[in-house]
Amino acid sequence: MVFSSLLFVFAFLALNLIAYFFVGTIKKRNIVLLAFSMVFYSWGGPKYLILLLGMTGVSWFTARKIEEKEEKKDKRKWIIAECVVMLGLLGIFKYTGFFLENIKLLTGFPSEIPEIVLPIGISFYTFQLLSYVIDVYRGEVKAQQKYWKLLLYSSLFHQCIAGPIVRYQTVAEEIEERKITYNDLADGIRRFSVGLAKKAILANSCASVADTLLPAGIEGLSGVPTANLWLGMAFYMLQIYLDFSAYSDMAIGMGRMVGFHYLENFNYPYMAQSIQDFWRRWHISLSTFFRDYVYIPLGGSRAGNWITVRNMLCVWGLTGLWHGASWNYVFWGLYMFLFLVGERFLYGEKLKKIPVAGHIYAIIVVFFGWVLFKFENVAELGTVLSGMFGGGHAFSNPETSIIFKNNLFLLAFSIIAVTPLGKNIRDLWYKMADTKRKVPYIMMFIDMVTPALLLILSTMALVGNSYNPFLYFQF
């Protein structure tokens, strides 16, 4: 089930909230959440539920063992076991095909590559469970004694299948005890409906324009004029942010409605001043995961320049690979690595001195990053890149200007949506009201009707929308 489906919104979520508020105690509420989460996860294929239950079981067990053991040595054994099991399973389900394909390319064996279906959300919940056990190992958080409560953490439908990667620390206390205030409820509702509309209206529309301009397959792409490639990639760039951040918005919003406070996952990444800045704003829960569990344990940036570069290479190679079992994602990670190294050692300081230059630079680098990201097939990637700079493609065709005109306002609105403009206006309005000491009725009214209105608009969009997959589901 995806958040942006009518069944989810009007059947699953509605029933979930009713059941949740109907039962009184926190324990019952947790049971409600767990039961709904089980149904939610099963919806994508009941057989993969076993994997989620099993991996949670292993983590629950090892974390308790780690806490029991006095000796560092013994603790270490268990944490290694945990990492081997978790990463092993992730590796088997996610990378076997990719690995064997490359072996086959090199050696000719094996002749047949098994097709392994990627269980939904495995990349996300594996990382959540890992972070939990490592945090227990580090003594930063106490091990959860109850299996079902840990399962609630790993399987909670808000974030189980497409992030954000919530740390156990963040919600440990709230699993045991949480309060829902009306302000939280209102914030959660607003966040959820904004996310839903962002996905159902903006991201899906951008996606359909991008798909029109960038047809699938090498044959289709080789005939696409230069201008269409640029325009198509621009829409794709908007789509991928709107899509993914919408999912995080909805997750954060639904959490807030029932008293969970997840950390932000995006902070207007397209406003970044550098690539380093971009990664502080894009999929924050993933970059902090790699920072805390890979980069810093390897020595971070304190052990000399070469070690730093090695550590960065590790992190960005892994970040790329995490996004998908395909070389283009690895290239994409390494591409980011190059610019990050450049910023750190070569031009980072200079860039900061020239106004706006940093922002333009970041946008351009990110833009071409998405080209790498979008095309898994190397031949397609080559066609698109060469086509973007002439490469035997016509400059434009009649479709170019027509599609541009047909989607002019969508483009403009989507661009505004990726900037903090709306948020800033709202904040400023409230502030001005405070200084003038006049109650901002208009803004309050807008805030009041927005969620309901967006829900209605999203419903209309979803009814007619067969096109709906979340991009980040494949990871």
Partner: protein, 490 residues
């Protein structure tokens, strides 16, 4: 206002607005939930999209464990959500705000194959008959399908005549119930989609014509071969109908959209056919005639077909070639069916088209207005040649002509007794044309080559038919797969 008083008032108001906001959201959510639960409210077909909606999956049909079943439940829930068409219309209104929509393109501007020059007459040029693969598309998705197949649940045959009366008492008959569920006709066929790319300029849309050399050569060989096979038995006439994009768009637009030159293409077809058949096929050059009338209402705005008026001009050309006198338009009784939103509208769903619906003029043949047709399931029905479609849904009104597209239909004109007969081999462009032929033959056989399964040459010989007339749209015969099918039954 004092700071404290202001803070107090703001907090109180903020609370009020916040609580109403929460309430509003939950109201919408609850209404949505309740609506979603009222199964009887769920539509089974969408008029707007002209298709049957997803059905609730049966558990034994799809695998349960890998989530396929639930995926279909998801699809069913969203697809059949109550008030689907109204919600879709709302969404369409939002989408119209995405940009400037005076011009739109659906599909891609691919450009056609180059049209070879053919030298007139003389040598029989060898034309390869092999089929390549050029933009073939599922033939089932194309064109208007007969509405009458639909005339409810399959018990129709004998009741058709009564059903006309029944209709008048029950003007809403042509609704959801007429989605054919008998005879294995699937809902996909009901989609009056256009097969290729569509260009919309303001309130009128055009199907873009792209020449396919492979498809053309199959057609040419097939028609020429049939002429040879029927030498001394029957005369073969061939008429190719250009698309509105060729006739009514400006030269600059035609060039910009890389539309193939219909005149040159027609030349290629006609000359090649004659080169092979030794000038035995009678070709009917209607391009110039239509060009002369390009500013008249000869093509629909919201549909890819020509109007009866366009077909009438072509008919006068046919009459010249055949050597008979064409009737004048005012000799016919005229019927009008306003409010037609055709294939372009269902493809583009554009407001501009919706605001510019077509009116179908239909001319009732003088000799008779009765025909019979055989459906894909083999049932034979009696029908009106020009059928009153006033109460039909806006999207299917083109089926007023000769009962729409059926594998085989037959018209007997009781006022002619000379034994004259012809067979028309056509796709849906032929429908608007055939009524004008009625007053020239005792018997007209109509074959839609897309659905007919027998051999047509033997049919002509067995029935002693004198004239064979091909009436086909250039774009429709640019599909290799379809042309292979045509060639296989000639």
């Amino acid at each position: 206002m004092l700071r404290k008083a202001y803070e107090y008032k703001k907090r109180r108001k903020a609370k009020l607005f916040r609580n109403i906001g929460i309430l509003l959201f939950f109201c919408v959510l609850l209404i949505g939930m309740v609506l979603g639960m009222i199964i009887p409210l769920r539509p089974t077909v969408s008029d707007q999209e002209k298709r049957e909606l997803t059905k609730f999956p049966k558990i034994q049909e799809v695998s349960f464990l890998d989530g396929e079943y639930f995926k279909q439940v998801d699809a069913w829930y969203a697809d059949t959500y109550p008030f689907r068409d109204e919600l879709l219309a709302g969404n369409q209104a939002i989408k119209s705000l995405y940009g400037l929509h005076t011009e739109q393109i659906h599909g891609s501007v691919t450009g056609g194959d180059e049209i070879p020059d053919v030298i007139d007459g003389g040598s029989t040029t060898e034309i390869p008959s092999s089929g390549g693969d050029n933009g073939s598309e599922d033939p089932q998705n194309e064109e208007n399908t007969p509405v009458q197949t639909s005339e409810a649940d399959g018990e129709t045959v004998s009741e058709t005549e009564e059903s006309t009366e029944a209709e008048s008492s029950e003007p809403e008959t042509i609704g959801e119930a007429d989605i054919p569920n008998a005879g294995g006709v699937v809902a996909d066929e009901l989609k009056p989609q256009v097969q290729g790319s569509v260009y919309q300029d303001g309130s009128k849309a055009y199907a873009l014509y792209y020449f396919s050399k492979n498809a053309a050569d199959i057609y040419i060989n097939a028609v020429a071969n049939m002429t040879s096979k029927l030498d001394q038995t029957a005369t073969v006439y061939n008429m190719l109908v250009p698309n509105s994009s060729n006739i009514q768009l400006s030269d600059e637009k035609i060039q910009e959209l890389a539309i193939s030159d219909a005149r040159k293409a027609t030349d290629y077809y006609y000359k090649s056919i004659n080169n092979i058949s030794g000038n035995k096929t009678k070709t009917i050059p209607i391009y110039d005639t239509l060009m002369q009338h390009k500013d008249e209402y000869i093509y629909f705005n919201t549909d890819h077909h020509w109007t009866a008026l366009g077909a009438y001009y072509a008919y006068t050309d046919w009459a010249k070639v055949k050597g008979v006198n064409a009737h004048s338009l005012d000799q016919f009784e005229k019927m009008q069916f306003p409010g037609f939103l055709g294939s372009f509208y269902s493809t583009l769903q554009s407001e501009e088209l919706k605001n510019n619906p077509d009116t179908i003029d239909a001319y009732v043949p003088m000799g008779t207005n009765t025909m019979e047709f055989t459906q894909t399931d083999g049932q034979t029905l009696k029908w009106d040649i020009i059928n009153d479609v006033s109460n039909y849904k806006e999207g299917v009104k083109y089926s007023c002509f000769v009962a729409g597209d059926n594998p085989y239909s037959k018209i007997e004109n009781p006022t002619i007794t000379d034994g004259s007969s012809c067979v028309v081999i056509k796709e849906s462009f032929g429908n608007a044309f055939i009524p004008f032929l009625v007053d020239h033959y005792q018997t007209i056989h109509i074959i839609d080559y897309r659905y007919y399964k027998e051999n047509i040459t033997s049919f002509v010989k067995e029935n002693g038919i004198q004239d064979v007339l091909f009436v086909n749209n250039l774009d429709a015969i640019s599909d290799v797969e379809m042309m292979n099918r045509l060639a296989s039954i000639l």
